[in-house]
Symmetry: C2
């Protein structure tokens, strides 16, 4: 019997879980709540118990499981040591050793953003590629840089922080990180809403998005598709800023493909068209052929990538 | 007897060669001219012959040699295939297979800029570190990004092209790459001379570098050290631009250390002081502790790195 792999995406509110074949076929997925009380001491027992229940339900014996991959919202070092997950109330400990107390399976841990990137490379928009940059356009701008099939974590786990690339000296509002002029301030969902508001305030040009109660990236891109000229100007500005930022990322890392995910990417291929146009303008000629793809796994990217942590870890030994 | 490793840095004018211990001690180094006639068909036989001569001279038998590492001025893929070295008259071929015809030793090939970076990480300014960015400030700005001890080559070998990061939209002069506003236009030796000329033309501020016949980075930094206020303004501008550029590189790759080499770095620690000040201003907080070191191997970095290609290649098998 082919072995199974569990992928666990541990978030601040829910724990997403999936059971996969070693080829990356998702057989089943489910969620449990994240119990953060008592410094998160119930979280790992809850996960172990839920996995045991699923194994029972699907008649999977312990010998049929290659391992459990867990991604967490915080830095994890190469030995699987968690360095504080503030959202979960966790301190510093080795997650694999801790899980062993509850379930006798190999455990591999990683950071959630990196795991999501790994998932997209394994079975999503970057499938089959070894050099990929996954860009997540959500509340912020997240990045996962995959080099030769492995996540570039960097010296202290701060690799891929592409949302905080400094682009504008003349920005006056502060980014969440404390700096000003970060890519994230323009290219995230929040950033696009900000660009739209600034454009609307500039003059009286008529637009379907003028007076919208809740400005957001969806409103802007819906208007873009409907032919609204002002919204299209905002999209051009977004595309130029992000295209320029990603050109720099490519000058450093030369990926085969950029995978664009997160809430903003739900607007579809039009988002990529705006980015790619400016990317090609600014990038070093050797990287001009880098492709752009939409992420395909949505919220499941994390469980896919967590499962892949097991396969990568197992193959190392 | 401990085995020896040959490192060959093949340039357009001379071939630099060295013989090393496996620990990276340079036992001997020498040069031969690069004979480019007949589409460079003499180059590999010349190298083989020179290595045989050195083995004879130092009583090294073929069994005492781990291999030969060769770095070339052009892209080399993972299989050791050279994809045109215009400077040498070379087309596309497998350098290891070709060398085998002349000398019966394992051969490992790589790109020259990447090999120089690997050399600095092995035995130079980045010694002991696994995540390093080597920045070469010469005629241009070159980069070598080392991730977990390996060179980040990227999908088609265009990783580490940090000289062509786009920084300025309002630049009017073209960079050698065809774009405008590249980091290299301000932070290379040539770029610093350009910044100095622009500053001198701006007003009549007195300066020791005014009227200098041959403006270059050495002239500027000598004046900086002598307390020339205008030269110090130029150094600040250089430091801000390069510090900003490297902050972006660190946001993407999070190195432990930047190693600064090339002709400009000969001015010493003062160069780093100007860069680091602005680096800390612009970088994402998690990478604020990245260290800056001067390169230490000078023109020998290439032979060191070429020798290291052998050890990395050998250790893979």
């Amino acid at each position: 019997m082919e072995r199974k792999v569990f992928g666990v995406d541990l978030g601040g509110t829910t724990v997403k879980m999936g059971v996969f074949t070693e080829e990356g076929e998702l057989l089943d997925k489910w969620e449990i709540p994240t119990r953060k009380e008592d410094n998160g001491s119930n979280i790992l027992p809850d996960i172990a118990s839920s996995i045991k229940g699923k194994m029972n339900e699907r008649n999977i014996s312990i010998n049929d499981v290659a391992g459990i991959g867990i991604s967490v919202p915080g830095p994890v070092d190469e030995d699987g040591v968690i360095h504080k997950c503030v959202n979960l109330g966790w301190g510093v400990f080795n997650i694999a050793e801790e899980m062993k107390k509850h379930i006798d399976l190999p455990v591999f841990a990683g950071n959630d953003a990196n795991a999501a990137a790994l998932g997209e490379v394994w079975r999503g928009g970057g499938k089959g590629c070894k050099d990929v940059v996954v860009v997540t356009l959500g509340t912020g701008v997240g990045g996962g840089v995959i080099v030769n099939g492995k996540v570039l974590t960097g010296y202290i786990g701060a690799g891929g922080e592409i949302g905080h690339i400094h682009l504008f000296d003349d920005e006056t509002e502060k980014c969440g990180c404390g700096n000003t002029g970060c890519l994230e301030q323009y290219a995230s969902a929040t950033g696009i809403a900000r660009l739209a508001k600034r454009r609307l305030e500039k003059d009286d040009m008529p637009s379907s998005i003028r007076g919208v109660a809740q400005m957001n990236a969806k409103v802007v891109f819906d208007a873009v598709k409907a032919g609204d000229a002002l919204a299209q100007e905002v999209a051009e500005e977004f595309g130029e800023i992000l295209g320029k930022g990603l050109s720099i990322v490519a000058d450093v890392t030369n990926p085969e493909v950029f995978v664009i995910g997160g809430g903003v990417s739900k607007a579809g291929r039009v988002v990529i068209d705006y980015i790619e146009k400016y990317y090609k303008k600014y990038v070093f000629h050797a990287s001009r052929g880098t492709r752009f793809e939409l992420a395909t796994l949505g919220n499941d990217a994390g469980i896919y990538g967590s499962a892949k942590l097991v396969l990568d870890g197992v193959s190392k030994h």
